[in-house]
Subunit: 476 residues, 3 copies
Amino acid sequence: MAAGTSELKRLDRDRYFDPDPKQRGIARGLYESVASLPLICPHGHVDPKLFADEQASFGTPVDLLILPDHYVVRMLYSQGMPMESLGVPRSDGKPVERDHRRIWQIFAENFYLFRGTPSGVWLTEELHFLFGVKEKLSGASARKIYDQIETRLGKPSFRPRALFERFNIEVLCTTDAATDPLRSHQAIRKSGWKGRVIPTFRPDGVINLLTPGWSGNIQKLGALSGMTVDSYPKFIAALENRRTFFKEMGAKATDHSALTPRTEELSSGEAQALFERGLKGRASQEDADRFTAHMLMECARMSIEDGLVMQIHPGSLRNHNPKVFDLFGPDRGCDIPMQTEYTRNLKPLLNKYGNHPDFTFIVFTLDETAYGRELAPLAGHYPALRLGPPWWFFDSINGMTRFRMETAETAGIYNTVGFNDDTRAFPSIAARHDLFRRVDANWIAGLVVRGIVDLEDAREMILDTAYRLPKKAYRL
Amino acid sequence: MAAGTSELKRLDRDRYFDPDPKQRGIARGLYESVASLPLICPHGHVDPKLFADEQASFGTPVDLLILPDHYVVRMLYSQGMPMESLGVPRSDGKPVERDHRRIWQIFAENFYLFRGTPSGVWLTEELHFLFGVKEKLSGASARKIYDQIETRLGKPSFRPRALFERFNIEVLCTTDAATDPLRSHQAIRKSGWKGRVIPTFRPDGVINLLTPGWSGNIQKLGALSGMTVDSYPKFIAALENRRTFFKEMGAKATDHSALTPRTEELSSGEAQALFERGLKGRASQEDADRFTAHMLMECARMSIEDGLVMQIHPGSLRNHNPKVFDLFGPDRGCDIPMQTEYTRNLKPLLNKYGNHPDFTFIVFTLDETAYGRELAPLAGHYPALRLGPPWWFFDSINGMTRFRMETAETAGIYNTVGFNDDTRAFPSIAARHDLFRRVDANWIAGLVVRGIVDLEDAREMILDTAYRLPKKAYRL
Amino acid sequence: MAAGTSELKRLDRDRYFDPDPKQRGIARGLYESVASLPLICPHGHVDPKLFADEQASFGTPVDLLILPDHYVVRMLYSQGMPMESLGVPRSDGKPVERDHRRIWQIFAENFYLFRGTPSGVWLTEELHFLFGVKEKLSGASARKIYDQIETRLGKPSFRPRALFERFNIEVLCTTDAATDPLRSHQAIRKSGWKGRVIPTFRPDGVINLLTPGWSGNIQKLGALSGMTVDSYPKFIAALENRRTFFKEMGAKATDHSALTPRTEELSSGEAQALFERGLKGRASQEDADRFTAHMLMECARMSIEDGLVMQIHPGSLRNHNPKVFDLFGPDRGCDIPMQTEYTRNLKPLLNKYGNHPDFTFIVFTLDETAYGRELAPLAGHYPALRLGPPWWFFDSINGMTRFRMETAETAGIYNTVGFNDDTRAFPSIAARHDLFRRVDANWIAGLVVRGIVDLEDAREMILDTAYRLPKKAYRL
C-alpha cells in the first residue's frame, strides 16, 4: 500500500483551498494578507526548558518528530507497531528500541498511513520548509532524509530560540501545573533573551482529589505558597497565592481539564468536607467530581478578581487503554473523547458569572455536536463566553471548516478566539498556524463568492481571526 | 474590526449559490422558476394586530429592526452591550435608553458582528430591497440610513397590509394561545381586507401545569369556552371547544412546545390526579412533564378528529439566564437548545396514531444530530410524520443545507414540508423565503450537476419545496 | 409532483463527482483505475439459495425489486401506500395485492418519491445497466418497463449465477444464523460451480435470551453440535463447535447485532445464572442485556482463538412500529436508529482484547456523531479495531462522504475496511459497489486538488479502499 519513492513536487501554493478558481483566488489573497503576521500562541504545551538554555537542542529526528508526538505514535500503534519498536520508554525499564535510525525507518515505511491526516500534512510541511526535504518520505528515502534533518538540527540556526524568532512568534504561552516553580520561565527572563514565553496556570493536579499523587501536590502547593494547606480555606488561599505568582511571571490565563463541564456551587461547609475527605484519602469519584464542579465556580470568581482568562478543556476520557498506560504512561494516544453536555452543565457558572463584563471564559470541546446545538447559542448570548478553536482531533482542515460552518451563523466570529496550536511539537507551530490561516481564508472566501460578505469585510475578518482576536481574548 | 463606510455593491444576483459555474447556472434557473410564486407562511409569530388596523405602522427603525429581533439583541449583548443601552424595557421599570437614534448608532457601529450570520444577510436584504439602502451599515452611515428608513416607514406603502400585498403572501399563519380570543383575527375578517391571516392553536399555557400563571390561564380557558374547568374531563372539553373556535376562525394547525418530545398515555385516573395537583398548585416538575407527555397524545387524538395539523417544537431550555429573564423577561435570546431524543420519546404517539391516514404530525428539532439518525428514518416510515424545516438557529444557509444533506437520502423531500419563516419580524419575511428558495435551488442544482436527479425532476422538486409542499402539508 | 414520462438521458459518465472540472477529472481517472476490479463482498444478506440451484430465478420484477427491498417499501408506506397494496404478505394470511403489474404501477407512479435517495440512484442504475431501460420510470412508462424487465429475467443470462459472474464478484459472504445447517452453501460446493459464496456466523438468535424462539434455537444449536445445551459451559462448547463448522464451510467472520455496544465480562457463575434464567424463561431485559454484553467478550476471545474476524452492528431499535410488525413481520422498514455510545461501552472488550495482534474487530454505527468523537479516535489507537463502512441509511453518497470527512483525519483510511454492500437485493450489488468506488474516488480527488495528497498516493488509496482493504481486513 506504500507508494514507491518519488520526487515530491513543490508544495502547492494554493494548498487547502477550494478548487473553484474564483474562491481559490479570493482565498489566496486573504491568506497572503495575513501569512506573514506574527504568530500569537495563547495555548500550548511546549516545554519552556527549550528556551531557558540558549544552547538547547531538539535531539535526533526521532526525538524531534516521533517520540513527543502522540498523534504519530498512536497511528503506528493502531496498525500493529509495538510501542517498544518506536522507542517509547517502558515504565518497568525493560529495553525498547534505542537505534533512532531503525525507528525512523519504521516510521518512513509506514508514512503512507498518514495520508489525508493532519499529521501527514504538518510533517510534510515541516520537512519541506524547515529541513528542505523535497522528496517524499518512504522506506527508500528514509536514510537520506534522516541525514538531512540530523545535519540541520546540528546547526545553531535550528536551536529553539532561533526557530522561535524565525517563526515570528510574538508570544508563546506554555501550560504549567499550579505547583510548578516556573524555573524555566525565570531562567528565560534572566537570560535577557527577548522572546516572550509566558506561563498558564493549570491547577488540575491540586483540584482533582483523585489525581494520582494529589496529596503530594497539596504539600507542594503549601510549600510554594508558604502555608500548610490543611483546610479548604487555606487551599483557596494557596491557589490565590500561586495565581498571583503566575501573574507576576506574565501569565494571562488559566486552564482546566475535566471529564465533564459540570459546574456547581457548594456551601463552604460542603466544600470543606469534600476537601477533608480528599486529605484523608477517602474521596469517592462523586466527591471528586463535585469538588471539581465547585472549584470551576471558585476559579471563575478568582478570574474575575485577578483578571486571568479562564479556559476549560473537557470531555476526554484519559488513558482509555490501561495496558498502554501501565507500560508507557500517559499521553500515548489513548485519550478518547466522550459525549459532552454544556447547556445544563455550564448553567450555574454562567448564571453567576457569565454576565460579568470583566470575565473571559473560553470553552473547548471534543464533541462537535455541541458546536451548533449548545456552544454557539451560549456564546451568542453570554458576554463572558468565547469559543475556543477546534481542539485535538479537530485541529485539522475538516475540523476547522466544520467549526466555522456550525458556529459562525449563530455566534459570529467575534465570539471565537482565533487559533490555538495546543502542541508539544514546537517545530510544527509554523505549519499549524499557516494551515489555520489558509483554512480560515478559504472559509471566508467561500462567504465572499456566495455573496454573504463582501471583500472589504472579508479582509477585516481574516485579520481578526488570524491575529487580533486571540490577542484580544487572551489579553496579550 | 469594523470596516469603514463604503458603497455596498449591488446585491449579487447569484448570492448563496455554489461558485461552480455549472451548478450556479442550474441553481439560478431553478430559483428563477419559483422566485415570484406567492409566499406560503404556515408557521410564524407575526402579531395579527399589524393587520387588524389599516393604519397600523411599524414605528421607528429601532421598533422595526432591533427591539423585536432577539437574534440582534442577543448578539449585541454577547459582545458587552447592556440591554438597557439597546432600549430593551426593564421589568422593574427603571430607565433604559429611549433615544432611538442613539440605539441605532450602537447597532450600526456593531453591525460587523453579524458578518456571516443569517441576521446579517436578512438585514442587508431588507435594507436593500425594502428601504433602498445601498450603503453598508456602519457607524459612519448610521444617521443617513436611519433617516432613509424613517422616511419610507412614514409612507402608506410601508404599512403592514401594503407590505403583505407587496410580498405576495398567499396565507400567513400566526401563533395564538388557546386562551386568545382572536380579536385581531376577527377585526381582520370584519375589515373586509382580502389578506389571508389565520390563527394557529397553541395550548402550551394551559397544558404545562408549571407555566407561570397557569391557573389564571385555566380560568380564562373556562370563561372563553363557557364552562368551569375544575376537572380533567372539563379541561379536555374546553380544549376541544377552543379548537372548534379556532377552526371557525380559519385555523389549520396546532403548535406545541415542550422541553422534550416525550409522549406517554396515562390512564384517565392518572391524568385527572395530575390535573388536580395542578389546580391545587402542587404539581411537581415530573407531574408537569408527564401531563405534557400525556396531553401530546390527547392532542394527536383531537387532531385526527378535527383535522388540525399537529406541530411540535421541542428541545429548547427557555430562559437559561435568570438575570436577564428577571430584568428583561422572556424571548431575549437566552433560550438554549438541548440534546433531544426522538426514537423512544415519540414511540407511544407514533405507535398509536402514526399509521393513521388522516393525521399530519410535523416535528421540528434544535438538535441536528437527530436529522439523519432518528427523524429521517421515522419520517421515512410513519405515514403521519413529516419533518419541519430547519428551525431557529438553523434557519440559515448552512442550516438549510445540512437539513437536506442529512434527511433527503433517507426521507426524501416528500416527507418534508417546505419552509416556515417562524418570525416575529414581519418585514424580513420576503428575505427569508427568498433565501430558502435560493438555498434549496442550489441544493437541487447540486444533485443535477452530480447526475443524481435530472433537470426535469429538479424543476418539479423546487416547485414542490417552494410552494406545493407547505400548502399540502398544512392543508392550506 | 410526478414529472411526465420522458427520455432519460444516458447516465452521466461523471455522475456523483464534484462539479469542479479539475476535481472531476482526477476523480474520473481514479475511478476508472478501479472500476473493473473484482467485487469483494465481505458482508451482506443475499440468500445463498439463489446460487445453490443453477436454475434459480429472481421471479417477477416485483419479486426482484420491490418486495425484498425494505428501503422501497418503507418510503411508499410513509406516503400512505398500504403494505397490502404493495403485496407484502400479512401474518394473519388475509389477502394482499397479488397482481404484480398493479403493484408495479403503484411503484412507478410514486417513483418520484425516491428523488435524491440512494434507492432512486441504485434502481435507476440497475434498470439502465441490467435491464437496458433508458426511459424514466413513471406511471406512463410502467407497463413497458415491466415487460422489458420480465423478458430479460426470463433469459438464462439473468439467472443469479450468471449475474454473479457478470458482476465479477470475487467473493460473496452471506449472513447465517448459528443454527443454520448451511445446506445451500453445501449445495453450492457440491455443484462444482466456481463462484465463491461463503457463510458468516451470526449467533444473535442464541445469544439474546429474549429473542422470540430462543429456547427452540438453543435446542437446535444442541442438535446441530451433537450435545444437550443445558448449561452455560455446554452453550459455549456448542458455539465453538458451530464456529468450527462454519470455518470448515469457508467462513471468515462473525457478525453481531445488539441494541447497544455494551461489553462486560461476567464471572462464569453469573453467566451460568443468567443462562439458566433464560432456560427457565425468566430472563429480564437487563439479564438479556448483560448476557449479550458478556457474550460479546466471549466471542472476542473465540475470534482470537479461531481467527474469525468479529463484526458488530449496534444501535438499531428494531420493529419500532408494533402494528406493522404484528401484521407484516420484521424487516419492513421500521427499525429506527438510536444514539449509541462507544467510548465507555467498548472499553472492557478493547481493554482485554483490543491490543491483540491476531484479533480484528470491525465496528459499525448508525450514529454518525460517533464517527469523529469516538470511533475514529478508538480505531486510531487500538490495533484490533477497524471501522466498518457507512451502514444502512448512511450507505449513500452523502453518508459515504461524511464517513471519510469525519474519520480519515483521525483514523486514516488504513483503519477502515473498504465497502460492504450489506444487501438482500443481489442485482443491486454492482450498482452499489460502483457508487462507492465513485464516491471514494471523488473524495480522494478532493484531497489531491487541495494539495493534501499527491496523485501517486491517491492512486494507491483508491486501490486500497476499492479492493485491497476489504480483502485484507476480512482475511479473504
